[in-house]
Amino acid sequence: MKFNLASLGAGLLFGIGLLVSGMANPEKVLGFLDLAGQWDPSLAFVMGGAILVGLVAFTVAKKRTLSYLGFEMRLPGSRTIDRRLVIGSLLFGAGWGLAGFCPGPGLVALGAGKAGALVFVAAMIAGMGLFELIEKNRVRH
């Protein structure tokens, strides 16, 4: 219960942050990704602000085995830089640049009642489902 409530609160705060920052607005994101046009550097400040806080939090988190609510600390352990990481990130970046949505902002825009965001999120979930199907077949063979 505590775990779910903290998840709800973190998700809510995350969504508010995306709205305040401008990240939830695809046109703003595309303005950042458009280096050859009229460039809007704002989103670099979003990353900067988030990482500033994140650096402190993760430095603390790395030293702990249990969270402050007593749950197991589950930080990713993988250090392998492989084809999956690079090809996956290339595909993601291409999709991001195509419409200006990444997963979080897509969900927030959906909550704001945007029809385009519903189309994006549905396609994104389908893409994730496709990934699971491919993975299942890959393991079987």
Binding site: F3, L18, L30, G31, M47, G100, G127
Partner: protein, 146 residues
């Protein structure tokens, strides 16, 4: 030469929003011990027989309800979607498959991964940003009618 769109530049709200995003990721890892990676939280729902459905749904419900709560007290900031439905469908499929193959997106690799000083996340972030720059260049400056 890069031309800066000063009239669109919003450093303070961007920084403030970034700090709030950072606080959300901080709260999530310090309270629950997890990475606030949106694609992982959503994608994990599609793996059958998992017993961690409730917290994933709770996190996503929090995100989706953020604009609803916001709209009760103030005007929502502009959310302008120029892409048409075909582009949104292709974009969604690419983002869905890509983030699962690459194990993360802007939040998991970009915010949390860089904050953890993970070399893997640095490679992922540089890669998806480069792909994003190239895609916008193609769509806005190379395609006819752009």
């Amino acid at each position: 030469m890069i031309e800066i769109a000063w009239e669109n530049f919003t450093p303070w709200s961007a920084l403030a929003g970034g700090v709030i995003i950072g606080l959300a990721a901080a709260a999530f890892v310090l309270l629950n011990g997890r990475i606030a990676g949106i694609s992982g939280i959503l994608g994990g729902l599609l793996i059958p027989n998992r017993n961690d459905i409730a917290w994933r749904l709770a996190f996503l419900a929090g995100m989706i309800s953020a604009p609803l709560l916001w709209a009760m007290t103030a005007n929502l900031p502009s959310i302008e979607i120029r892409a048409g439905y075909p582009a949104l469908i292709v974009s969604g499929l690419l983002v869905g498959i890509g983030t699962r193959y690459g194990s993360g997106c802007t939040s998991g690799h970009g915010v949390c991964g860089l904050s953890r000083l993970s070399p893997r996340s640095l490679v992922a972030t540089l890669t998806f940003m480069a792909a994003g720059f190239v895609m916008v260049y193609i769509v806005r400056h190379l395609l006819p009618g752009a």
